[in-house]
């Protein structure tokens, strides 16, 4: 076991650190498994040789599996299956000579662990299962470790053999993840599942950025490579901050209300104002809104995609055009998902008594969330500074990288907004009528609810399911499998399960063989071997 830290490792360790602190604050401090999980991630990131890398990676998988198992046994098997699958791909890949097969195995193995389509189906099931502190670390940290493996191999270890189409593979997988992740995030009504789907989307964004950079690096285009890497790494940094925040928040909602199904929440800002504000900040990041932490990476990524569309053959160009459509659609879907989360879950009227009686989050998780939120501020307002700090990593990955300067200046925008706000505030204050009056909601003339329903009839509120239904109707039908299932589940997981079942049946038939039949197996195998031997020697 050898350890070595370079800029890339340090960056990802840096991404990991605040999440670990926040996760520990969110109640995982005394769990040994949690710390083993962290240790595994740290080992994988700091590894100097393949064995340590795979060992750390597997330790991470194993520990997180235990944590998932303690939360919910059902998705644990699927989770561990995918984890071992990724191990089965990674272990050979690290030994193969640099070449396409090694790269594809790395993408398959680490991609499965990161939740890249079409191997993302486990993620929305497994990530919500464990306690919030672990979910946070899994969504914010573990997928990053998997992406780190992809980066480490695609850009450093296998770099001499890299070809432009390698980037294409990442872009296609990433685009599919972006679309399916955003769509499912829009449709899921369970808060943590929804967040996990959004993780799939963000992993996809990072992969798209990496793919563009990898392709550009192989084509010798320094500017585009720089843009792609900036987008991917910045997205990794930002996502590593706001996603754990949201997951910890969801855990606190669970603790306070007893459920995280959006259809049973509502009006939580009243009972839990601090949590509500922090969640609002996180949601702004998730929706990639300007002045939030998530916008800068998306901004750079779109620029990179536009730049990439101007290079390569006609097929590649049309592909990148389609990619832009996908990115636009998904950005709006992510916005819808975030609005739905805040609007349905935290605003409006409580839908249950538990939601009405919710009390604010516990102190330590709140402090953890606040820490993450505070770290979001520089990413949100000073992305240029963060990018400057990322420069060594980018130069390590693509020495020729030379990205154009960032044209998104959130601080200036904030100043402009501040000026307008001051002016508008002055006008409203000077000429307007001050103060406000609380009245029953007008509600199109329906008037005040009856006294036995203090928050009105919950059924008259828009529900999370109802909010998403039109989108399911307009887009979901085309992209999802019949019945609204994830296409990867319907067209990959289900057939594989069926195949496995068939093999199991054959094995069972063999197992039920009588003694005589078992003897017959031996005998047949012996004769077959002898025949092969005779023919082999005769020939």
């Amino acid at each position: 076991m050898h350890l070595h830290l370079d800029a890339l490792s340090l960056l990802f360790l840096g991404i990991l650190l605040p999440q670990v602190v926040a996760g520990a604050m969110a109640g995982m401090r005394d769990s040994v498994t949690f710390w083993v999980f962290v240790l595994g991630m740290g080992l994988a990131l700091a590894a100097a040789d393949a064995f340590t890398l795979v060992f750390g990676f597997e330790l991470m998988s194993a520990a997180s599996w235990l944590l998932v198992l303690r939360g919910d046994q059902k998705p644990a098997t699927l989770y561990v299956g995918v984890a071992i699958f990724s191990a089965a791909c990674l272990v050979p890949a690290v030994f193969l000579p640099a070449g396409p097969i090694a790269f594809l195995l790395i993408v398959l193995g680490a991609g499965a662990k990161a939740g890249l389509a079409p191997l993302h189906f486990w993620l929305p099931r497994a990530h919500p299962a464990p306690p919030a502190g672990v979910s946070a670390l899994m969504s914010g940290g573990m997928v990053k470790v998997a992406l780190y493996v992809i980066i480490r191999y695609a850009f450093v270890v296998l770099a001499p053999a890299a070809q432009p189409w390698w980037g294409g593979v990442l872009v296609v997988a990433g685009a599919a993840s972006v679309l399916i992740g955003a769509l499912r995030a829009m449709l899921e009504t369970e808060l943590k599942t929804m967040l996990a789907c959004s993780t799939v989307e963000h992993v996809g964004l990072i992969a798209v950025g990496l793919g563009i950079a990898l392709r550009a690096k192989a084509m010798g285009d320094g500017a585009m490579a720089g843009l792609g890497l900036e987008a991917a790494l910045l997205c990794a940094v930002a996502h590593g901050l706001y996603k754990p925040l949201l997951f910890i928040g969801a855990g606190e909602v669970k603790h306070s209300v007893g459920t995280t199904s959006l259809n049973w929440l509502g009006g939580l800002v009243r009972g839990m104002p601090k949590l509500g504000l922090l969640m609002l900040g996180g949601a702004a990041g998730m929706a990639a809104l300007p002045l939030g932490p998530g916008f800068a990476p998306e901004f750079i990524l779109w620029h990179a995609a536009i730049a990439a569309a101007g290079t390569g053959g006609i097929i590649a160009r049309i592909g990148f055009t389609a990619l832009l459509v996908v990115l636009g659609l998904s950005a709006a879907l992510a916005l819808g998902a975030a609005v739905r989360m805040i609007g349905i879950g935290f605003l409006g009227r409580p839908r249950t008594l538990q939601a009405a009686a919710a009390e604010d989050a516990r102190r330590w998780p709140l402090i953890g969330m606040a820490l993450l939120a505070a770290l979001c501020v520089p990413v949100a307002l000073l992305p240029g500074l963060v990018l400057y700090a990322l420069t060594p990593v980018i130069l390590l990955l693509a020495p020729q990288a030379d990205a154009p300067p960032l044209t998104y200046a959130p601080l200036s925008l904030a100043v402009l907004a501040g000026l307008v706000a001051v002016a508008a505030g002055f006008i409203l204050h000077r000429y307007g009528v001050r103060g406000s009056r609380e009245v029953p909601a007008w509600n199109g003339g329906f008037g005040k609810p009856p006294p036995w329903l203090p928050f009105g009839d919950p059924a008259t509120q828009p529900s999370a399911t109802g909010f998403a239904e039109p989108i399911a109707r307009a887009i979901g039908r085309g992209l999802l499998a019949p019945g609204g299932a994830d296409p990867a589940e319907a067209f990959l997981l289900t057939p594989l399960t069926r195949l496995h079942l068939r093999c199991v049946r054959v094995a069972e038939r063999l197992r039920r063989a009588t003694i005589r039949q078992r003897l017959a197996f031996i005998f047949a195998a012996l004769v077959a071997f002898l025949l092969a031997l005779g023919l082999g020697e005769g020939g």
Binding site: G267, V269, R270, L289, P290, L291, I306, A309, R317, I318, T321, L324, V325, G328, L329, A331, A332, L335, G336, V339, I342, G343, I344, L347, G348, T407, Y408, A409, L413, L416, A417, V420, A421, A424, L428, Y431, G432, V433, G435, S436, R437, E438, V439, A441, W442, N443, G444, F446, F455, G456, T460, Q461, P462, G466, F467, A468, P470, I471, R473, A474
Partner: protein, 321 residues
């Protein structure tokens, strides 16, 4: 240098002042012309100013089911639209805000405004606001996809995606009239109609809550909150007009450092706005509002047109030309 900076500052201030001042007027013109086209007399063109003033003087009511954030959404919406309006060049290019006027930033600010409006609609937790919000979310999905792919077309032609840069490039370089730009224009118009809440996707003068999109989200707002939201809607209309004007009708735009070109630029800008303010109501009265689930198809066509624009660009191999 100092002089140039001073001129740019002046132009920026002028642009901001004009934009903020003219926004209600444009809305008034459109409304009046639309009434005329329908054979009615219509309100005077300064009616929006009166309405805004009226709202300023009215008490602000807050529903008892709303949360503390109720009044934050109008502010967020108005601020982001205002900032976006400051970024889009109006009568001249080279404003101080030009480096910030990245098309993607503007898209982001519009999305922020949209998110704030939607949250405002969901705030009180009643059906109409929610219905407006999901419709807005649905339309937004397609609109953003279409807009981003149109943007690709501009980016490839103009080698940059700041609105200012596009305007300068389209004005000075000889781009000519290409099929791609035609497709892009059609796509962008569809997005603009959706974003500003005009027919065929939404009816700004409708009064049936069940059919409303933008207005449905404002149902519970009153007083200064409503003022902010309505003013934001007016600004948004002007913003889109300026945007389309800057990109597709860039001729005659003044340069901020050249004070002599300002009057011509101003005149032309006003003319462009007027022309669009005439065309919009004429189009509106000649077509009908769509059912909700027809709108994705409408925007889907826009998206396709945007893609076609890009593909035609590739086929014509005009990149770098």
């Amino acid at each position: 240098m100092v002089l140039a900076f001073f001129l740019r500052l002046l132009a920026t201030l002028l642009h901001v002042a004009l934009t903020f001042a003219l926004a209600p007027l444009v809305m008034g013109v459109v409304t009046t012309l639309r009434a005329w086209a329908l054979g009615r007399r219509g309100p005077p063109v300064i009616q929006p100013y009166r309405d805004l003033y009226k709202m300023l003087r009215k008490a602000t009511l807050v529903p008892d089911t709303a949360t503390e954030l109720f009044s934050a959404w109008p502010v967020a919406c108005a601020l982001s639209i205002a900032v976006a309006a400051m970024l889009v060049p109006g009568f001249c290019t080279g404003l101080l805000t030009a480096p910030l006027s990245d098309f993607i930033t503007i898209m982001g600010l519009l999305a922020l405004a949209r998110a704030a409006t939607m949250l405002g609609g969901l705030e009180t937790g009643f059906g109409f606001g929610g219905a407006g919000a999901w419709r807005e979310a649905l339309y937004g999905v397609f609109a953003e996809g279409a807009l981003l792919v149109v943007l690709l077309c501009f980016g490839l032609l103009a080698h940059g995606v700041t609105v200012d840069g596009i305007a300068v490039a389209f004005d000075t370089q000889h781009i000519g009239i290409s099929v791609s730009l035609g497709f892009a224009l059609a796509a962008m118009l569809a997005v603009a109609l959706t974003e500003t809440g005009r027919i065929p996707t939404d009816n700004p003068s409708g009064h049936l809550e069940l059919a409303m999109v933008h207005e449905a989200m404002l149902l519970e707002y009153s007083g200064r909150n409503l003022l902010l939201l309505n003013y934001a809607a007016m600004l948004r209309l002007l913003l889109w007009m300026s945007l389309i004007g800057a990109i597709f009708l860039p001729f005659g735009m003044a340069r901020a450092t050249d004070i002599l070109s300002w009057p011509g630029g101003l005149l032309l800008w006003l003319l462009k706005l007027a022309a669009m303010a005439v065309v919009l109501p004429l189009y509106e009265v000649s077509s009908a509002k769509m059912r909700v689930f027809r709108v994705p198809e409408f925007l889907g066509v826009a998206m396709l047109l945007g893609m076609l624009a890009g593909i035609f660009l590739f086929v014509a191999a005009r990149i770098g030309a």
